[in-house]
């Protein structure tokens, strides 16, 4: 589903942020990326969404190479690539339902959505996605009134409304308490299975990676240190990812 081949990114100051990076995430799979601060985890996601332009390499979403796209073609390709962040990034004054439905904006005509809003069917679908994340009762509530865990669930529902094939998550539980963090990880795991989503999730919480990931990728200094099924990832290997940070 998502294949990254020979991906490299060198910043204008000469620093190599990613070097010859290779990874594959299949549909229905939850892959967790671990690594120290500045190791290149978030940079990897920003390259995949093409917020950053890689210096070299290919990013394949199905049969489409995102690195070869610009403008309208890139926008269309992004419809299949959803992203959630550490903070939910919701429009605080809009309702929860309106926030979820905005995930589908790109699939509808500009005139229709700007002047007439989204079709009723899309709003019904948005209610369904809210039900999937367990927040159907909060549809009409303002997004600004939600707790951190609830807001993150709404952000996930918004990404589902996008109907993506790949879901990228950049430290989605970093600002949540342990219980809410477990809830979100369980939800991502369930969605990967039920919706056949390819989920690539950057985490700092090693225990959550051991509990929920199908596969774990370790990054150090912009290079892959290991890419293994969860059961084969040793504590020592994970520990080595963070050693240079402590030194």
């Amino acid at each position: 589903m998502l294949r990254v081949r020979g991906l490299s990114l060198r910043y204008p100051n000469g620093k190599l942020a990613l070097s010859d990076f290779e990874l594959t995430v299949e549909a229905g799979e939850l892959v967790v990326v671990l690594g120290g601060n500045g190791s290149g985890k978030s940079t990897l996601l920003r390259c995949i969404t093409r917020t950053l332009k890689p210096s070299a390499g290919e990013i394949w979403l199905g049969q489409t190479n995102l690195c070869a796209l610009e403008g309208e073609k890139l926008r269309r390709a992004r419809l299949e690539l959803a992203m959630i962040w550490q903070h939910a990034s919701l429009v605080r004054r809009s309702t929860v339902l309106a926030n979820v439905a905005t995930g589908a904006l790109g699939r509808h005509s500009t005139l229709r959505t700007v002047f007439g809003g989204l079709p009723a069917a899309e709003l019904d679908a948005a209610r369904g996605y809210l039900g999937d994340v367990g927040l159907a009762d909060l549809a009409e509530q303002r997004a600004g009134t939600l707790s951190g865990g609830q807001a993150q669930r709404v952000a996930i529902a918004r990404s589902l409304a996008q109907r993506p094939r790949v879901l990228l998550a950049d430290e989605p539980v970093a600002s949540l308490d342990p219980e809410a963090a477990e809830d979100i990880m369980r939800l991502l795991q369930r969605l990967a299975r039920s919706e056949r989503l390819a989920v690539l999730c950057v985490l700092h919480q090693v225990e959550l990676a051991y509990a929920y990931a199908d596969r774990v990728i370790g990054i150090r200094d912009g290079r892959i240190a290991f890419d293994l099924p969860r059961s084969q990832v040793s504590r020592e290997a994970v520990h080595r990812l963070y050693i240079h940070e402590a030194a």
Binding site: T51, R75, L79, R92, A98, T102, G106
Partner: protein
């Protein structure tokens, strides 16, 4: 050896510390003298003569005496200029909003499509704000003649500057995370604007616009003095004709309008917050 209040020996200042403390005290004294000098020069420049106020108070008392009681029989005649005053402010505010919103988008560093557009928009906003509304009114009276229309135009142009600056600052302070999130869903720029930027900014922009309307109502009262219509023009005419009882009635109307607009604007802004 000296002791401090807790009974411990007080620390002795070294030579350098003593010098530093003396220097700080001297700087404070100079700053205080400088502050006093600024106030004194202001009194000299404005030719402040409090004694004149005391000797001339009987003149003021005479006018107030002649203005009593207010001539309420002129109330129906004051209704139309009152409506004109309110509508001048409303028209000016609406013109200001319509022009200021696109200008502010160009003048906000986080939204502008190009550096040239940014500087051009900032220049227009700065210029329309720098020229007082009274001067704009004089210019428009010359262009389109006496009456409420030049007043409305003057407030509109001046509001472009005032609103443009506040709108642009509000846009620049906006949380961009939801906007970036929408962009990455594959939404088009106009969709991001309609579903992300407008809902985020609308309450703030409405609040600023209501405040501007409140300010414009005050300004429209004064614009009448240069022939731009409304109750100000009525007030000037009554004063020139020594109709002080009518003047007092008009001042009561102005007081009610200003206070009412202020309260209404504050109440609406509170609801939007």
């Amino acid at each position: 050896m000296s002791l401090d209040i807790a009974g411990r020996p007080a620390p002795r200042l070294s030579g350098a510390d003593a010098w530093r403390r003396a220097l700080t005290t001297a700087v404070h004294c100079v700053l205080a003298l400088l502050g006093i000098a600024i106030v004194v020069q202001a009194l000299i420049v404005v030719e402040a003569r409090p004694q004149d106020l005391i000797t001339g108070i009987h003149g003021m008392a005479d006018i107030i005496w002649r203005a009593m009681p207010p001539d309420f029989s002129k109330l129906p005649a004051a209704a139309w200029p009152t409506l004109q005053t309110l509508d001048i402010a409303l028209f000016g505010t609406m013109v200001g909003i319509v022009i200021a919103v696109p200008l502010a988008l160009l003048a906000a560093a986080n939204m502008t499509p190009s550096r040239y557009a940014y500087y051009a928009a900032r220049a227009i906003i700065g210029f329309t704000r720098a020229v007082p509304d009274l001067v704009w009114a004089l210019l428009f009276v010359t262009a389109v003649g006496l009456g409420p229309f030049p007043g409305g135009l003057a407030l509109g142009v001046h509001s472009v500057g005032m609103l443009g600056r506040l709108f642009a600052e509000t846009i620049e302070q906006m949380d961009m995370a939801p906007i970036h999130a929408l962009e990455l869903t594959g939404a088009r720029r106009i969709q991001v604007f309609s579903h992300g930027i407008i809902p985020t900014l609308l309450p703030s922009l409405l609040g600023i616009s209501l405040y501007r309307l409140d300010e414009n109502i005050r300004s429209s009262l004064v614009l009448g003095f240069v022939g731009a219509g409304g109750i100000g023009f009525q007030l000037l005419t009554a004063m020139n004709l020594f109709q002080y009882q009518e003047v007092s009635l008009l001042l009561i109307i102005i007081f009610v309008i200003v206070l009412g607009a202020e309260r209404l604007s504050a109440a609406l802004r509170e609801r939007l917050a």
